[in-house]
């Protein structure tokens, strides 16, 4: 009897293992990638560094030498309100580096998504770390988007010249800060306007974002360039500018599928 049961067990073992495996692979959702592109603009014009004259809502003007910002903690939202938070997503968008104007988020569960959100900047937990080995990729401090005298990443850097004042004056916005009362971490949720982003295993949809540089100043808390003295550190001024760009800088231009 004993022998028989053992034999039976041995015969059944591979079957059990096989069905176990099959069950596991069945439970794995198929995933795909989403490709993001960013087009920086000044109002209706494509942003050309050291060239484009940007005009704010009140008619003040500036030109741009540097325009860089982090997009992180990317979440995709389904129509039922459920979200997929893509892990470890930190992307530095730099208008001077064309390769930085598109990036891919892999491992997104297949399905139809109706919205997106992301932090413009870096979350407090990450930027507050003190081990430089944790700042991999775009977060590397050598990218010059980090305050060495006040530990933390610069979330958005806009440098240029205010041209609507006489004389012209330098424009410097270094926005950051992750502790109260000057926490400048903001989340943008540009609308899909009813469109769907369909993720499948075998093709990669593209989400085309537009970022309007004038919205750093135009927004719920407008800033007048005539009296603007710059933002260089975590401060109330930084928070004000962050609230502006969170509200209106990003929009979804279109969603395409290759």
């Amino acid at each position: 009897m004993k022998i028989r049961f053992s034999t039976l067990g041995l015969l059944l073992l591979p079957l059990a293992l096989f069905s176990g495996c099959k069950k596991d692979s069945d439970s794995l959702e198929p995933t795909g990638s989403v490709n993001f592109t960013v087009r920086n603009v000044a109002g209706s014009q494509d942003l050309v560094l050291n060239n484009t004259v940007a005009t704010t809502a009140t008619g003040e003007t500036f030109t741009t030498e540097t325009f860089e910002y982090y997009l992180s903690n990317i979440k995709l939202i389904k129509s039922d309100g459920s979200t997929y938070a893509a892990p470890d997503t930190y992307f530095l968008v730099d208008q001077a580096k064309p390769s930085s104007l598109s990036f891919t988020v892999p491992g997104v569960p297949a399905g139809d998504y109706t919205g997106v959100s992301f932090i413009v900047g870096v979350d407090a937990q990450k930027t507050g770390l003190t081990d430089p080995a944790t700042f991999t990729g775009d977060l590397n401090q050598a990218n010059n988007m980090y305050w060495t005298w006040n530990s933390g990443h610069i979330f958005l850097k806009l440098q240029g010249t205010i041209t609507s004042t006489t004389p012209n004056k330098p424009l410097t916005c270094h926005i950051g800060g992750y502790t109260d009362p000057n926490n400048a971490i903001v989340t943008a949720t540009p609308s899909f306007s009813g469109a769907k982003l369909t993720v499948q295993a075998n093709h990669t949809p593209q989400l085309h974002l537009v970022a309007n540089v004038t919205k750093v100043f135009d927004g719920p808390k407008p800033v007048a360039l005539s009296t603007f003295t710059g933002a260089h550190m975590p401060s109330a001024q930084s928070v004000q500018l962050a609230q502006n760009y969170a509200a209106g800088m990003f929009s979804v231009e279109k969603i395409t599928t290759e």
Binding site: G128, D131, N144, T148, S151, M233, P234
Partner: protein
């Protein structure tokens, strides 16, 4: 990189972990181990540089609080320490090749420079006095305003400050990567590939974190060790210190690491101290309480170096304290008088005590001195990573 590093650690010989240490002072075992390694290294044995330092590294001196720095994420190795030392003393890391960390942080002055305000590239003056470098592994924050939150991040501040070394991090890394000797030394520790930010900062931190001061006559006194005898005036100074000064200069680190306004000024138009970081009015004029270890060697004093001598400092606390909204409460006496009343004799006794905090084991240890020019060529090609 991290994987390669941890894999290599397993194969390392570990002979020196058994260095005996007296029970009362476990940190001495660590120090002895370092000295032993240093001696053997100087003898030119390539094998020795592969060895880990004793695992007892950074066991707190018996009279210290617990270590803050996470040594486990920057495991001490002799080769890495020596690389950090080389970086610390290399002026090429400044924008014009004239200023190294060691330019302002001079060993004989407890790693200060004797200047009121630090002197950077092209004769530029920093806004602040160079702080002493000692016991950095016990710091929770760095800089007089606490703006930097970790030891490994700290070096970035003077490196990139336009008034100090004026070198963007990317440029410093490019210089290191263009130097075959540095590439060889980094690769020996971290494996092949470009020298990157964490490698650079961690190597430097192995040197700066090793600058431990815990062997002054005062230390020997509190640990009941030979050589720890204090004279009667010194003992009276110690008692006075505990009564009047230890509210801020607390523990045997001689700082509670808080930010306080010690009454230097009524207003703070030039340097608001902690408020520069926090943007809080309540922090205006508050600066980090500095350690008083080796204080006899770190003149001039205060965040802006305004006092040339220790008697001037004591005179300030006796009768120079100025009122402001953020003046530290400990400097307001119950009768409304400002400061800490100190008789001439009390000031003499305090001075006598402060002199017992001088620690030659930090100030004269050849391991912390600029590396001999020849040392670069003596280093073995293979290091702990092989």
């Amino acid at each position: 990189m991290r994987r390669a590093c941890s894999a290599s650690r397993k194969s390392l010989p570990n002979k020196l972990t058994t260095v005996a240490a007296p029970r009362r002072t476990p940190w001495r075992g660590w120090l002895a181990g370092i000295l032993l390694l240093g001696t053997l290294g100087a003898a030119g044995s390539a094998a020795v540089a592969h060895l880990r330092r004793p695992n007892a590294a950074f066991v707190a001196p018996a009279n210290f609080p617990a270590l803050v720095y996470d040594v486990a994420k920057n495991q001490p190795y002799e080769a890495t320490f020596e690389l950090g030392r080389q970086l610390f003393y290399d002026p090429r890391l400044s924008s014009d090749g004239t200023i190294s960390c060691g330019s302002c942080h001079q060993q004989s002055r407890a790693f200060t420079d004797g200047q009121a305000l630090a002197l950077g590239v092209a004769g530029r003056r920093s806004a602040r006095n160079t702080p002493a470098l000692q016991n950095l592994g016990w710091h929770r924050s760095f800089m007089a305003d606490g703006g930097v939150r970790g030891l490994e991040l700290q070096a970035l501040a003077p490196l990139t400050s336009p008034q100090e070394m004026n070198e963007p991090l990317a440029d410093a890394l490019a210089k290191l990567n263009a130097d075959p000797e540095y590439r060889r030394r980094f690769a020996a520790i971290y494996g092949p590939g470009k020298i990157d930010t964490p490698q650079f900062l961690k190597a430097l931190a192995q040197f700066t974190s090793a600058l431990v001061s815990a062997d002054s006559r005062y230390d020997k006194h509190v640990r009941h060790e030979p050589g720890g005898t204090l004279t009667a005036p010194e003992q009276r100074g110690l008692a006075l210190f505990q009564q009047k000064c230890s509210g801020c200069h607390a523990t045997d680190l001689f700082t509670d690491e808080s930010f306080r306004n010690n009454g230097l000024d009524r207003t703070f138009p030039v340097d608001s101290g902690r408020a520069h970081i926090s943007q809080l009015p309540a922090d205006a004029g508050r600066f980090r309480v500095p350690s008083l270890r080796n204080v006899a060697r770190t003149a001039p004093y205060m965040h802006d170096g305004r006092f040339a001598t220790l008697p001037e400092v004591l005179a300030h606390y006796d009768h120079g304290v100025r009122p402001s909204r953020t003046l530290d409460p400990l400097l307001r006496q119950p009768d409304g008088r400002l400061g800490l009343p100190l008789t001439a004799q009390e000031q003499q006794e305090l001075l006598a005590f402060l002199n017992t905090l001088t620690d030659n084991s930090l100030l004269t240890n050849p391991r912390f001195a600029p590396p001999p020019a020849a040392a670069r060529n003596q280093l073995p090609l293979a290091g702990v990573g092989r």
